[in-house]
Amino acid sequence: MNLALFLYSLKSSRSVIIVWCLFLFLYALLIAYLFLPLQDIADTIAEYVDKMGSMVEVFAGEIGSILNPDGSLSLGKWMSLEFLSLWPLLMSIYAIFYAGGIAAREVERGTMDMLLSQPLQRQRVIISKFLVFPLAIVSVAVASIVGMLIGMAIIGNFSDIGGICLAFLPALLIALAVASYSLLFSCIFLEPRKAMLAAGSLTGLFYILLILARTVGPLKWLGNLSIFHYYEPAAIASELSMNWLGIGIYVGIITICCTAAIYIFQRRDIVA
């Protein structure tokens, strides 16, 4: 890694990181706070879930999953449903836009020529710029956790806090996996639009596979092909049950895609 380039990239991304942190801090706070009025209508929700079909549950959210077996509301499950399940998806959008442009945007703007005529190895350019992303999403995760904690403090309920924080681990890894294949597309195409389109389409495909697997019984196996399938925030938040296969898959995707991206970038012509 080249520290100067890393710090420059971090400085350039500063405002975007701050906006994400602020947005998810407020969103986490709001969702945690909304648990308070929700407790008053727990019975209504249970009744509602009974009357809903499984199809509707898929699209409206697994409303039933926020209830404990005794019919009470679970804070951990509520946060999983309304916040943690969305978190990696939102960070995936950030990943596509950031990592999809790492090599491609520099080449398109012509600044890559300037960088690579300095005594700087090609892989260092990629690594220095990519490493900003993990730092950014960890910052967003911290801001989200702080938002949740403040919300929990307001409603006076800190149940499942350990599990909720733990659920950020696979969420962070999903975002990193999306970022790593976005980086790979960036190095392959060297055009930001193409790279983002490819990464966005793949992420969209993963999400569609997940929906299909959940809604069409015979296609349940398709879920295994989606990176989102292995992310079960409710199970982590309420039972501290981690899907280690999923963790392994995410780490594998990150390792393979980053290595391939560096390999390709190292050997290709830098032509806009």
């Binding site: 080249n2 420059y8 012509g110 600044t111 020529d113 690579l116 005529s117 300095q118 700087l120």
Partner: protein, 296 residues
């Protein structure tokens, strides 16, 4: 040992020829001009030398080191000014140069302030607010400030006003006096004529000639423009030592191969209204060179 040496360097972009079979030698301490019209392959050659693109065939060496396997060591010793200057717009000139300095592992960039003063630029301004010429100045400073042994300059005076251009040429001459080598790509002939020792002429990706600039100057072709008071038979304009290029409406253009003095007796016999004998330019020589090469 040559500072730059290429061996049959060839680059094709698919079926499109970038450069082909380029055998180039740039000697230490010289300013080598790389001449050619747009699309001739000048930038492709520089990009090959910088290892930004990889050759289809052949190889290149800088400081005796292979540009592919020793790219990093080479780039520690060279300063590059790209043809199409793109800088980080969100930084000021000062911040950008500080970043470049750090990429050079904080190698002393003591010339930065001196260069900024000579090129008359305020480095505190954000690059996005700078004009094309100011950005070019920042790019020139980044190329020179680390005191490189070899300067690779692609269309270096693009966007610079004449005063700054002159200062830039002075800088190049000083670099040469300090023993530095300069590889300058340009399509501006007076620029090459003014600063270069030797010139390589590139055409459609092929190196058609490498000439000493002084030798090229001796091959200059001068044109003589005459305005006549009245029409004369064309036969009277066939003067030994010249070639009639144009004759219409009492206006005559002759290509001159001998000293003007030798032509005077014959010219005196013509009903002359006006004579113009402009300074011969390298451009005329160059264009003639091109048309001759093209007709082969």
């Amino acid at each position: 040992m040559n500072v730059i040496q290429t061996y049959g360097l060839t680059k094709y972009y698919g079926k499109v020829r970038g450069v082909e079979n380029l055998d180039l030698e740039v000697k230490p301490g010289e300013i080598f001009g790389f001449l050619g019209p747009n699309g001739a392959g000048k930038t492709t050659t520089i990009r090959l030398l910088l290892d930004l693109i990889r050759p289809t065939q052949g190889r290149a060496e800088i400081f005796g080191l292979d540009v592919r396997t020793h790219s990093l060591e080479i780039r520690q010793r060279l300063g590059n000014l790209p043809g199409d200057v793109s800088l980080y717009e969100n930084l000021s000139g000062e911040e950008f140069l500080a970043l470049i300095e750090k990429l050079h592992h904080n190698r002393s960039a003591k010339r930065k302030d001196e260069l900024a003063e000579r090129l008359d630029i305020d480095l505190s301004r954000k690059i996005r607010t700078c004009s094309k010429g100011m950005k070019q100045k920042v790019a020139i400073i980044q190329a020179l400030m680390n005191d490189p042994e070899l300067l690779m300059l692609d269309e270096p005076t693009s966007g610079l006003d004449p005063l700054v251009q002159r200062e830039f040429y002075n800088l190049l001459k000083e670099e040469k006096e300090r023993g530095k080598t300069v590889f300058l790509s340009s399509h501006i002939l007076p620029e090459v004529e003014r600063v270069c020792d030797r010139v390589g002429i590139l055409r459609d990706g092929l190196l058609v000639a490498v000439e000493n600039i002084d030798a090229l100057k001796t091959k200059r072709v001068r044109k003589l423009e005459l305005t006549l008071r009245e029409e004369v038979p064309e036969e009277r304009l066939k003067i030994p030592g010249t070639k009639l290029l144009y004759y219409r409406n009492q206006r005559v253009e002759l290509e001159v191969y001998v000293r003007i003095g030798e032509l005077m007796p014959k010219l005196a016999e013509l009903p002359l209204e006006d004579i113009v004998f402009p300074e011969a330019t390298l451009e005329d020589t160059f264009m003639k060179f091109y048309s001759e090469e093209a007709s082969r």
